[in-house]
Amino acid sequence: MADEMTVHEAHGAEAVHRHEPPKSFIRKYIFSLDHKVIGVQYLTLALVAVFVGMVLSILMRMSLTWPDMDWPIIGTIKPDQYLSFLTIHGTMMVFFVLTTAPQGGFGNYFLPIQIGAEDMAFPVLNMLSFWVTLVGFVFLVASFFVYEGAPIGGWTAYPPLSAIPSAGPGQGAGMNLWIISIAIFCVGSLLGALNFITTLINMRARGMSLMRMPLTCWAWFTTAVLALLAFPVLLAAGVLLYLDRNAGTSFFVPAGLFIKDIVQPHSGGSPILWQHLFWFFGHPEVYIAILPGMGATSHILSTFARKPVFGYRAMVFAIFAIGLLGFFVWGHHMFISGMSPYSAMAFSILTLSIGVPSAVKTFNWLGTLWGAKIRFTTPMLFALGFVSLFVAGGITGLVLGQTGLDLPMHDTYFVLGHFHLVMGVAAIFGMFAGIYFWFPKMFGRMMSERLGRIHFWITFIGVYSIFIPMHIMGIVGMPRRYSRFAENGQQIYGFLESLHPLVLFVTVAAVITFFIQFLFLFNLLWSLFKGKKAGNNPWEATTLEWDTTSPPPHDNFAGVHPVVYRGAYEFAVPGAPNDYIMQTEPDPAGGSSSSEVTSGNGHDGHKH
């Protein structure tokens, strides 16, 4: 360590006036300006949210499988309750789990460190972004406790159902709170995005060129840009919907609606307009949910394969392509909405095009593994699981993206299977991989490998068991968002009768998978206090966070500014003393000439 410090100083990384870390408990852990604390706060929020979301989903599965059962404490789950569970489950998971943990959680913690900065560009803004998000969470949960309870329109909240308070239970006060919660979340997300983009552009350490950044950073950056441009559209839509509901406007409500025996007094609005606005946000949102997971997977795969990322440049381009194309495909959620069939065709072709960069990423992951020397640690298992699940989920996008095939498949369990596999599983696996990988760095202790493995095996087999059958259920014709399929013991739709064994199988798998997450929770909490102490670099990784203590000091690098000499994935370099070279490791030749030794083909310079 001491040698490296000297080397750093020799190459001009001056010691900097260190900011004194905060002393009081409140400044340290509650209203903290430290991006690391804020990152952990986001992760904690996401952890709470994911358990709430999972409980709701288990209640839903139980209600579907045993509709008239009188459960202890909750009683019978009635159709409107089911729909409110469904709505909050979706909203909670998409916003407060998939948009917080990967970006606000891991991104906040590790972006500054991986680029060699002391903190985010605007620590106060960062702190605000978390607290605003938390307020949004409170509003969402509050919707369960108002008159008539939480809304029932799904996380997509299509008007007129969502625009007319009398159109259903929970569509009154509950719906208002939902809109407010989402609007607040939009603001919180925007504040975060501002920080991410500014920090990455301005605060990279010396030598940390863009093409030397870990892929995680590229992912966080692109995600922030997507959030910056997409969330304001949702905010606008939410404002319009709120006005329709409470101020008598008619943005989304046409004339002549007959609801609850009254001809509603609106006129001139368009329900499809909401869909356009919502999905213009909604599609980039799902890429916001998956891109950080992709970045983490690339990163973790390379680290434990002991091999550079295959096609780093292609991976960067793929991230950009996914981000950019993601703004032009929103109409594939609306093929049968009444939108122009010609637009539908255009959206369809663009949608299948976005499969290309995703496929390229998959090939490159496989390429990274080829000829590797894989160490099967728990983070690696989850990263490998990510690849498998992303393929399983993404590939059915080829079905749904075709207009003609969407005709039978729209709004069936086939769609549920598709998006749960990519978002509800692959993205979650990305988070698990991240947690197991970075836990030692964040908390200075190792998690239990044994418990991690059990968690992985059961979850991996479990999620396949839950979501692959859903594709079959969709083909047979099981519609989405149905609170029940039987009334008074009688199946309502004859063509669904044959699916009962699958329904039961899925529910059992879901319950098992749910309960095994408590093992993960136990591992997490137990390891916080009793885990084996971790050194600086227990995984023998190369990026900047592994060059500092575990956990890092308040300013990340103990007053030293790291200088970067090479790319992020220098594993198995022939002739090197170890099978990995850290980014901060200068060449024996010394100084800036190190880069000149390399040829200039745009990577960190290795010829191949």
């Binding site: 159709p79 729909l83 008007p159 007129p160 159109a167 259903g168 609606l257 609801i259 609005g269 368009s270 499809i272 394969a305 002991r306 096609g311 780093y312 292609a314 049968i336 909405s337 009444g338 069939p341 065709m345 369809s348 072709i349 299948l352 095009s353 290309v356 390229v360 490159n364 496989l366 000829g371 590797a372 020397k373 894989i374 099967f376 690849v387 498998s388 393929v391 399983a392 059915t396 080829l398 079905v399 075709q402 207009t403 003609g404 095939l405 039978p408 729209h410 709004d411 095996w457 396949y464 079959i472 047979v476 519609p479 029940r484 009334e487 309502i492 004859g494 044959s498 594993f571 198995a572």
Partner: protein, 293 residues
């Protein structure tokens, strides 16, 4: 560990593929445009299936073969990638994906880019929370005017038919969609309150019913029978129980039914509906062919 993971990945892949062959499938279709959709679906599923299996087998193989083993001194192959390979697989993937996309438009174009042929049997479908209202034009072929302010549940005027409009005299409304076999049917889809979606699996298409819009779709049933209609867009509390009936009748039976006076119409309709078993396919003469699922 790598071996175990490889095996598990392969087993899960095998199980997934087997599941697709275990008998659960689309209900048999009863419309003219169905073979196009079903064929495109098969082609796509095969491409998807091959890609799925290839990727999982590749992944499983990679983790099987390339474990670090006990000898930590051995190094991986040092490479940053292969540009030619990148180009190759990008181009191939693009060709396949975009090819599929273009192919998949044909059926869509057939359904949506042209109007219903002349002589189609028209029905106005007015959805509401939580029922379907089918409005028939009657012998004069003209739909009577409707207005939401005229809706009177107690008079069974669910769609607000304007009695003063002469065209509405011979109009019929019921909750069953009854159409003739082997003749194009045009549906004019409307909604009274929120967005619903019209869906009969055997018809192989869905269409949202959007308040404020009158959306036209057409199809030609090629078999007769009694089929269930489901709502496919979340419309409120009882979305799940918004069941309707599609009754496709042999031409003669249908003609006779539609010619009946209003008072006898519903009774005869119920009788016909009871005659055809739910979910069973009959040919154009009414001969039973078999279950659709």
């Amino acid at each position: 560990m790598g071996r175990a993971l490889g095996v598990v990945i392969w087993l899960l892949t095998l199980a997934s593929v087997v599941l697709f062959f275990s008998g659960w499938w689309f209900p048999t279709a009863i419309v003219e445009h169905a073979p196009g959709i079903d064929r495109q679906f098969m082609i796509t599923i095969i491409v998807v299936g091959i890609a799925f299996v290839a990727a999982q087998v590749g992944l499983g193989y990679a983790v099987w073969r390339f474990g670090a083993g006990r000898n930590r001194d051995e190094r991986a192959v040092y490479t940053h990638g292969n540009n030619r390979l990148e180009m190759l697989w990008t181009v191939i993937t693009a060709v396949i994906f975009i090819g599929l996309a273009v192919m998949g438009q044909r059926v869509w174009a057939q359904l949506h880019f042209n109007q219903a042929p002349a002589g189609s049997f028209p029905v106005e479908v007015v959805a509401q929370q939580f029922a379907w209202n089918m409005h028939y034009a009657g012998p004069d072929g003209k739909f009577g005017r409707t207005d939401p302010s005229l809706i009177r549940d107690e008079e069974q005027n669910y769609i607000g038919l304007d009695g003063r409009d002469p065209a509405s005299r011979d109009d019929l409304t019921t909750t069953t969609l009854v159409v003739p076999v082997n003749r194009p049917v045009e549906l004019i889809l409307r909604s009274k309150d929120v967005t619903h979606s019209f869906w009969v699996p055997q018809l192989r298409f869905k269409q949202d019913l959007v308040p404020g819009m009158a959306i036209r779709v057409h199809f030609t049933p090629t078999s007769a029978g009694n089929f269930q209609l489901a709502c496919a867009e979340l419309c409120g509390m009882n979305h799940f129980s918004m069941k309707g009936t599609l009754l496709v009748l042999p031409e003669a039976e249908h003609g006779a039914l539609m010619a009946l006076p209003k008072a006898e119409f519903q009774g005869k309709l119920n009788e016909l509906a009871a005659k055809y078993e739910v979910g069973v396919i009959y040919d154009a003469n009414g001969t039973k062919l078999g279950k659709s699922y």
